[in-house]
Amino acid sequence: MSEPATRTNLPLAAIAVFAVIAVLPLFLSDWIGFLVALALAKGIVVLGVVLLLRGGLISFGHALYFAIGAYTAGFLANRFGIGEALVALPLATIISALVAAALGLLLARFRGIYFAMLSLALSMILYTVLIKFYDFSGGTDGLSVRGFAIAGVTPADPGLAQYYLVLVVTAAVVYVGARFLASPLGYLMQAVRYNEIRIEYLGASASHAILASYIVSGAISGLGGALVAYLVGHVSPELAFWVMSGDFVFVAVLGGTGSVFAPLIGSIAFEFVKNYALKFSPNTWQLTLGVFLLAVIYFQPQGLWALFTRSRAKPR
């Protein structure tokens, strides 16, 4: 990845795409708008997974931050009556970042399967807490998230307002993500994937790069979670279950690590396929996803994104 040519084209394409998405609500139904917003919010979480995937690390526990962010918004709305997004979103991001900083210190020592297993275990810990401590979290019933407001204003059409909120936040995250990937730390993450030891002999620290990536990754995942909480209007422990993490990993692998947009596009494809497949044939949509994932693994391991960009660098 990272050919200068692709990069100079992207900002223009990005603006075009965002412009299209911005005017979509004028043409499409509320439900489609909801799906797009949901997909983008989850796409942010997938981007978080991708940041680590670039370093060869698979996190099977990103549902942890997703749930932390979602429940932050949930608690504020449900327990404190604060539905103000401009409070919840930054708070969700900060809390997730802090947790990621603490856990990242533990996780940064691990690679491969162990990183995956440990990240999974950490998210399952949150899941078990959310399930059991009813007074705290509402147990399996979860919490309803009502009273959504932006800057003190309760919008007349919350769905539409949330749509644009998600769009703006996604644009911001994409910018941050792109800058991060292109920064020295982002480059070092690529190096971690291919030759970690050499990094030491370049005077830099692999753990440093991993920890930084993990914190950014956790932070944006929490942000995505908070957005989803508002969109769906409800939070429940499933948000922390390992299958949720699996979905994020699925989309991340499907889209590939080639660009900040891959996770978003992959996420939109995923949500739409899931939505329509569930309607028409509820017992085959997972099968379809599984077959898709196998196809990517066997034939196009660098993800579907690579099909659309001329990848001059041969992967792995």
Binding site: L118, A121, M124, W242, L287
Partner: protein, 298 residues
Amino acid sequence: MNILPIIVIDGITFASWLFLVSAGITFIFGVLRILNVAHGSLYAIGAYLGATFILQFAGQEQHSWITLPLLLLAAIVVGLTLGPLIERLFLRRVYGEDEVIGLLTTFALFLILEDVVRLIWGIQPYLVEGPFRLFGRVRIAGIAFAGYPFLLTIVAILAGLLLWFVIHHTSFGRQVTCVINDREMAGALGINVPRIDLMAFALGTFLAALGGAFTAPMTSVEPGMGASVIVLAFAVVGIGGLGSIGGAALGCIVVGIARASAVQLFPEIELFVIYALMVAVLLWRPQGLFGAIELRKI
């Protein structure tokens, strides 16, 4: 101290239930270096098939002893058909790749199998309580326990002994040990590694299905049972060490006792303790308590 016998017995029966699935996962990992996420689905399929056999052949007489061989048969069928099929068609292509590729592949298989189960058996729960009631209740230390879980414990112990015997006293077992220690060397020594791979995966599949089949009478067989069991199995093998069956056994006992204690003393943390233990062990000793495999931890 009335709860002590409860903790011990509940702990051991829970451990036995888990052992069959986790022994399979850790064994497969040792041989193929793949962490099989789909193992939970194989467990579920064993349960569904076992339930089906009982409903078909034992019909109204679920209370008869014929149900037990039927469950065993279900497990054997799954092991002999699905096992080789999956290994040959899907896993063979990813050997030698990065270990997380194996993880992703089996995750894809998990997704596929979850729907296969729904397509074949539908989403309604299956109840086959006959065998469970067959074993009635047992009194130990003045407390009444259900009898069936003890059967499960016996099955688990027998399976464990069988595994131990196979690995240490048969030529297949010797070859498997060789492959576990050094795949390339094993090939160079003339061992038919692809055949060992196939048989090992079939054996692991059989164990998972056995666990599922014999669990069927204890619970309602429904979609999603695979997803819940697999994380517990991961916890166990994380604690016990990937690739070590003895480790899996120990991990099961640790998890079983910890959970049973929690249930008696502090029920809210029943599930929490399992994953907390997993994290604790992974942080302290990433290769697990008995970890045989040196994996990249850096």
